[in-house]
């Protein structure tokens, strides 16, 4: 099978037995979820599916290769967004949580205890996801304290 779509280096490619290959992390992950007959992981309404795709896109466009000085803005925005949500698409765990978890893990590992408290909603979400069955795999768990150690910091 010829790769009709020339994938740039570092972009994953999935070779499918009876069809053309697919490239791109989001495309492949979405395709595999459909193949696995787990459509709920892509969202259970048109609205939710759009929200899931939006965060998948966010992972590969904003989070990946993000310059150091951008990390704070990303954490701030995510923290605000997650204020009233358990997961990225609301109350249900979706593919967006898995891919954002893998994309943000290296940032969470480096946060100090104070920073984890500052971005409390991100930390809470991250902790939920890393404990979600089957998500964490080989990645080291990140310690997130459930009790506030510092007070008086503003959010």
């Amino acid at each position: 099978m010829v790769f009709w779509f020339p994938a740039p280096p570092q972009v994953p490619v999935l070779q499918i037995n009876n069809g053309p290959s697919l490239s791109g992390l989001v495309t492949i992950a979405t395709h595999l979820v459909q193949e696995a007959k787990r459509p709920e992981l892509l969202g259970d309404s048109a609205e939710q599916r759009a929200v899931v795709q939006q965060w998948l896109e966010y992972r590969v466009t904003k989070l990946d290769n993000c310059p150091k000085e951008e990390i704070k803005t990303i954490l701030k925005d995510l923290n605000q967004y997650l204020e009233d949500k358990v997961y990225l698409a609301g109350n249900n765990f979706t593919l967006a949580d898995t891919l954002m978890y893998y994309g943000i893990h290296h940032i969470m590992v480096d946060l100090t205890v104070q920073e984890k408290e500052k971005w409390a909603n991100v930390s809470r979400w991250f902790d939920h996801v890393q404990h979600y069955p089957g998500v964490r795999h080989h990645l080291p768990p990140v310690v997130v304290s459930r009790n506030r150690l510092y007070t008086g910091g503003h959010h």
């Binding site: 779509f5 020339p6 697919l22 490239s23 979405t30 609205e47 939006q54 896109e57 290769n65 925005d77």
Partner: protein
């Protein structure tokens, strides 16, 4: 549903074309580039779609995908692949090219910045040999890529002989009435160039593209 757009912004061309093409009902508000519509984002981000649930979509591609799905047209894996490519590969190159051509007048350099993505598009169209990117009918991928490329490809000097397929495809999409009216709504006639400039000046300067090894999960 309320869709917020600003003039001169190529991403708004995409979403307005998708609204027209799908016929999904939504109110359209024209706002300033600096308007912060999405409450949780630090930077003004347009277009944005306020959904009935109160949630906001801030990714133009997610908005287009939603409108297509709401009208019963779900994106295929092939269309998904083009959407992801547009966001991760084409957009960084386009940001650079538009910056070079519209703000600095460096047209040759701008064409060079787009060489690789345009040849990928050319190859993709040639291999598939269908009128549109993912088949016989126009899909969300065509609207998104056409809208993204509109500021450069509507200027015929960017078109070279090696891009015959791209040229044909671009014309096919551009001739759709939905696309023509979207262009009119965002880039209003003779002021189009200065509107695009005004939009670009509000964007962060594109930094040289870099792709580092990512953990592949």
């Amino acid at each position: 549903m309320n869709l917020f757009v600003s003039e001169g912004n190529p991403h708004c061309v995409k979403v307005l074309a998708a609204v027209e093409l799908t016929g999904v009902k939504c109110d359209i508000s024209h706002v300033n580039h600096e308007e912060r519509v999405v409450p949780y984002l630090s930077r003004p981000t347009l277009p944005a779609l306020a959904l009935p649930s109160g949630l906001h979509l801030f990714s133009p591609n997610a908005i287009c995908r939603f409108l297509f799905e709401a009208s019963g047209r779900e994106a295929s894996s092939l269309a998904n692949q083009w959407l992801e490519w547009e966001a991760t590969e084409l957009q960084p190159a386009l940001a650079q090219a538009l910056h070079l051509s519209a703000l600095q007048g460096k047209r040759t350099e701008a064409a060079t910045a787009l060489q690789v993505p345009l040849s990928v598009l050319e190859q993709g169209l040639r291999k598939r040999a269908t009128p549109f990117l993912s088949g016989e009918e126009v899909s969300v991928a065509d609207i998104v890529l056409w809208g993204a490329l509109y500021p450069v490809l509507s200027d015929s000097s960017f078109m070279t002989g090696e891009l015959a397929q791209v040229g044909g495809w671009f014309q096919r999409v551009a001739l759709l009435p939905a696309c023509q009216s979207a262009v009119r709504a965002v880039l209003t006639g003779k002021g189009a160039e200065s509107q695009l400039k005004a939009y670009l000046q509000k964007q962060p300067a594109p930094h040289a593209q870099r792709r580092e090894a990512q953990p592949c999960n």
